[in-house]
């Protein structure tokens, strides 16, 4: 017979075990669309709902990739063919909000995020699936920098548009992924999905939770494959990183990467990577690029202008800069704690 003293012990042990929660059912899908690897995780719905969502997102990302491609036929491709004429032309209405959001973010970033410099990026040879092997002609670069196309050179009038600057070519590379993820998350919500991650090639937005805990993200080290830090997402947040390791080529011992400083026409050379957390993906994406170009001295001012609250910048010497709010959230998982410069609050 079990005595009265045993019963409370049994209850205690049961409670201890019940405190451990098993992982909730999670639906994962990998899609090779949008020119990258897209991993989607969904929690809290049945398998049919999740599979239906995967299908919708796959179709949508395929469409967006085609429509927003800077140098292949599509809605943006057509715009780019017509911009140099400086004449007025009609555009696909679905491009309007994309261009308007990009313009607003470009203005906030003092045009460090500048989607109008497609010609510069093309001159560097990054408008190709193959990586460049040689440096661009210096004169071409100087000329394009002098012409200084920005989003403010665009005139939008209903569904027509024209550019006042014939050197303008739109390249949404630093923005499309974020905007696309936002569209994907919006679609998930409409399907009744409140807990999910859409991760497009390492940049992601997470909504809700994974069961009873927050989504846990590992931030990769910019110089090797290990994990540098861990961050928990709080409800609905995007985390985007821009790095000099994403697309680059080496020439005579020097690395030339794809994040071009519109002020110089050359790859921004003071930063290794920038990680930004913000509610929407489009803003996080554009800010990661702008702050990368701003570098260790100017990132703080630009982050304030763009209303970004969490930033980690690793400069070209490997030194880490961040704001106090970011420091509170991030946990370094490396063997030795890195040296960090903490900025003024954002």
């Amino acid at each position: 017979m079990l005595s009265d003293r045993f019963i409370p012990l049994l209850i205690l042990l049961t409670l201890l075990l019940s405190a451990c929660s098993r992982q909730p059912e999670i639906h994962n899908q990998r899609l090779l669309v949008f020119g990258t690897i897209i991993d989607i995780s969904i929690v809290g719905v049945d398998k049919n709902t999740a599979n239906n969502a995967f299908k919708i997102i796959e179709d949508d990302f395929k469409y967006m990739h085609e429509a927003w491609h800077a140098w292949q036929p599509g809605a943006l491709g057509r715009i780019n063919n017509l911009l140099p004429t400086t004449a007025s032309f009609t555009i696909a209405p679905s491009m309007l909000p994309v261009i308007q959001k990009a313009t607003a973010l470009s203005d906030q970033s003092n045009h460090l995020f500048n989607p109008a410099i497609g010609n510069l990026i093309r001159a560097w040879g990054f408008h190709s699936n193959d990586l460049p092997t040689k440096l661009p002609d210096q004169k071409t670069i100087h000329e394009l920098v002098k012409q200084n196309p920005t989003m403010d050179d665009l005139e939008l009038n209903g569904i027509t548009m024209r550019s006042r600057n014939s050197a303008m070519l739109l390249d949404m590379g630093a923005f499309a992924k974020g905007y696309g993820i936002d569209v994907g998350i919006e679609n998930l919500r409409k399907l009744g999905i409140d807990n999910a991650i859409i991760n497009a090639g390492g940049d992601l937005r997470a909504i809700g939770k994974k069961g009873d805990r927050n989504w846990r993200i590992g931030v990769r080290h910019p110089r090797n494959n290990s994990i540098l830090a861990s961050i928990e997402m709080q409800g609905d947040e995007s985390i985007f990183t821009s790095g000099d390791y994403e697309r680059f080529f080496d020439h005579e011992g020097k690395r030339y990467h794809h994040i071009i400083d519109p002020r110089t026409g050359y790859p921004a050379d003071k930063t290794t990577s920038v990680t930004v957390i913000h509610s929407d993906g489009a803003t996080a994406d554009a800010a990661a690029t702008a702050l990368f170009i701003a570098g260790p001295e100017q990132w703080h001012a630009i982050a304030r202008q763009m209303n970004i609250k969490y930033v980690m910048l690793i400069d070209k010497h490997g030194h880490i800069h961040m704001n106090p709010a970011m420091q509170k959230r991030i946990r370094f998982v490396t063997d030795t704690q890195p040296e960090i410069t903490i900025s003024e609050p954002l």
């Binding site: 990998r30 846990r216 993200i217 590992g218 931030v219 861990s230």
Partner: protein, 119 residues
């Protein structure tokens, strides 16, 4: 409590650590290669078993090698061979893909410390 009750309680307490390790603990060593194909099929193979796998896609066949707890693309019908240039994958969450042929490989385990990797 009788003597038998004490024995039952002690045995139950002894079983707790074992139960915890078996059901709740995380083992973060990379153990599997997850191959995703263009038609959304998943092939999961142990990293410990040396093997060469041919995976068909719309462009042709990718050949994937698993050797010495690592995996890589060794042949691909795509033009740029980015998948092959990705080299060996060995850490959890490492990933490489042949986008044109719709084939990707990643390294995973049963319990993952992170839900996603940002880079």
């Amino acid at each position: 409590m009788t003597r038998t009750d004490y024995i039952v309680v002690i045995l139950a307490l002894c079983a707790l650590p074992w139960l915890y390790i078996k059901y709740w603990s995380t083992n973060d060593t990379a153990t599997n290669v997850i191959i995703s194909t263009y038609d959304n099929k998943k092939i999961i193979l142990p990293l410990s078993e040396n093997k060469t796998i041919n995976v068909k896609g719309p462009m042709g066949e990718n050949i994937i090698e698993i050797n010495n707890n690592k995996a890589r693309f060794i042949n691909s019908p795509c033009p740029n061979k980015i998948c092959i240039h990705s080299g060996w994958l060995e850490d959890t969450n490492d990933v490489a893909a042949c986008l044109p042929n719709g084939v990707s490989i990643s390294i995973g385990n049963r319990h993952q410390e992170f839900d996603a990797i940002n880079f």
